[in-house]
Amino acid sequence: MLERQKMPEQPPDARRFNFDEVALGYTDEQAIEEAKRCITCRKPSCIGGCPVEVRIPEFLGYVAQGDFDAAIREIKTDNALPAICGRVCPQETQCEQACILSKKGASIAVGRIERFLADYERRKGMEVPPLPDPTGWKVAVVGSGPAGLTAAADLARMGHAVTIYEALHETGGVLTYGIPEFRLPKEIVRAEVEYVTRLGVTIVLDAVVGKIVMVDELLAEFDAVFLGTGAGLPTFLNIDGENLNGVYSANEFLTRVNLMKSYKFPEYDTPIKKGKRVVVVGGGNVAMDSARCALRLGAEEVMIVYRRGEEEMPARAEEVEHAKEEGITFRLLTNPVRIIGDANNWVTHVEYVNMVLCEPDDSGRCRPQPLAGTEHTIEADVAVVAIGTSPNPLVPRTTAGLEITRHGMVVVKENGATMKKAVYAGGDVVTGTATVISAMAAGKKAARAIDGYLKGDLQQDVEAKKQLRQVSAQDGHAQ
């Protein structure tokens, strides 16, 4: 009762040499056993822990009875991307943390069951729910990442005609270019995107909004626009040597590996530098992903350098654990101060300094301070900078009427509306680097607001205009 069902996984010494998925998923029996552990609280707190408010106790109940079809139907009412969320959501800080059992031992493995159900349905063939009659309203969604896909799916289920514009040649945004195959197989992303298209959503690839079409042009064609353009602008450390050959932004490193499949070079045409000794700077999930990709590309040693301690690492505990099992080493409380190169401009060493954590300030965060005199160098032939991203500027730069923060983020009201009429935004373009699920929650909230706007304000406008026309027509007649 207190023990949760273990997730079958590829053993570390096998998986560090391949890009196949690490976690293998529950069996039917494991899923049922795990779901049966739910104590069906009268006032369940788990739902409140889910950013998209999936009715967790309901679907667990179906699973416990072995009715997987009803269970997945229940999830999909609130979440169009369960196979993705079941894999990459930080459940341990959301629904599973809210689960009452977490205080009594181990919470229900909600994420694993969600993943199991989504995989079950995918194998069987996805069911498309009945859709309402078309409302006649048209919405453009910019970006096919988690925020855009969720907004599009919800809007489609409300009866609106939705078109997604995607800048890259594949859908999924960060799910495709950022998160590696071994954590989120691209086949799964494609399947969930296909589900969204089966809800009636049209996707236009290779369309960079702000270049081939402007937001104002979209507004001429559509009744509302949702911006889910993500945080596609890498941040660097601003230290010497960052432009040396062999130094990558995590975005570039992961895009080459995941989107362009350079791990299959030369079968695929996109090259990547396969380092022997790789240093990854940062402590988030993106840093873990980069380090584990570098290892799978054939590195002999991969080291994560992070300026704070393990406690402060923003990465999921599970990802840190997986990285450690695979043999990645961690140098905590260290920070690079410069990157050193050879005569041909290739990185050879990273110089770093030890850091100390000070007392937290009013914001609750403590700025680590460098410890003078502790500078030393380590050998590296590839370095990956994974210290976060800021919003991509293409849309903000080319759209008048949006309010943009000093850090390039789009300002929105509580409901996701921007300062520009009929334009909504959500996800990393509003918050800066965050999680897949928080972007999905923002997409969901904006979809609700867009629906309200279309059926409320805009509908009234249209009717008022219609009446005005009728009145003026009658006036004309009277004369």
Binding site: L233, N245, D269, P271, K273, N345
Partner: protein
């Protein structure tokens, strides 16, 4: 969606012209813009400058030199074939000013991106002087086209097989020293040439613009592969450029970054030859 090649022509040995059907891109294209293309599922994304475009016909023209696997594969395509992805127009368009004498300097395949700018500057009422060059007469293309859009056109070849025997920079120097009142220089070509032109115009204090062809992946500012150092500040050629003030560009860094995948490029090119001609190994 795929993009049909409407015309394919070898302009000079290893230099190819390709007209692509891309109506939506053509509609927004301006001089200075580039595209990113991917041939097929396994292809890489490479940037190519838009050398010409027709809004009415929905066509963009690109010109490329065969240097690596992707351009080798492109050179093997013919009219009627399709490219899986064409993305654009990307980058900032060239700033077309008025009322000056503008000197265009183009080396090798750099004639392609210079052409639409030359035309636009001329149409805007500027006096346009152009200098084009190549290693030899065989490798020179669009001389007639350039003549039509230039008030004066000068040609240089390294071996003297056409025009001036020497480099384009010799002619640039002559023109600047001749006191022809050049208000702006636009130089596009191999980085070595652009660096020489920048060095040459600096003492004359003539505003000089170069277009940088760094390695790119997405072309939308997302990856940072194309970063260049301009005035000691890191810039992204794809969203901040591709045009920059030549006097501020760190060309040494540009050149070393362009060589980043030399070993991999060699391997990929060998693979192409093996696929085409049968593998000796």
């Amino acid at each position: 969606m795929s993009f049909k090649i409407l015309r394919k022509q070898e302009l000079a040995p290893a230099i190819h012209l390709m007209d692509i059907s891309a109506p939506r891109i053509a509609q927004k294209a301006q001089p200075g813009h580039f595209i990113i293309l991917r041939i097929d599922e396994k292809g890489e994304r490479i940037p190519l400058t838009i050398a010409d475009f027709s809004w009415e016909k929905g066509i963009i023209t690109t010109i490329f030199m065969v240097v690596g696997r992707t351009t080798m594969r492109l050179s093997g395509l013919k009219a009627g074939d399709e490219l899986q992805n064409v993305i654009g127009p990307l980058g900032n368009p060239a700033l077309i000013e008025q009322g000056a004498t503008v000197l265009f300097v183009a080396g090798g395949v750099g004639i392609a991106p210079v052409y639409p700018q030359t035309r636009a500057f001329r149409e805007a009422g500027n006096r346009v002087v152009s200098v084009i060059g190549a290693r030899n007469a065989n490798l020179l293309f669009w001389e007639d086209e350039m003549r039509v859009v230039s008030d004066e056109l000068y040609v240089a070849t390294d071996d003297g097989s056409r025009g001036h025997h020497g480099f384009v920079t010799d002619l640039v120097k002559e023109i600047l020293e001749g006191g022809s009142n050049v208000g702006k220089v636009v130089a596009i070509g191999p980085p070595v040439m652009m660096r020489s032109v920048a060095g040459l115009t600096r003492p004359f204090k003539v505003k000089t613009v170069v277009s940088l062809n760094s390695i790119m992946v997405d072309g939308t500012g997302m990856c940072g592969a194309c970063r260049v150092l301009v005035g000691n500040e890191t810039k992204y050629a794809c969203v901040d450029g591709p045009e920059f003030d030549a006097h501020l560009v760190d060309f040494t860094l540009l050149m070393s970054r362009l060589a980043m995948y030399r070993a991999e490029e060699k391997l990929a090119a060998e693979k192409y030859r093996c696929e085409r001609e049968g593998c000796p190994c």
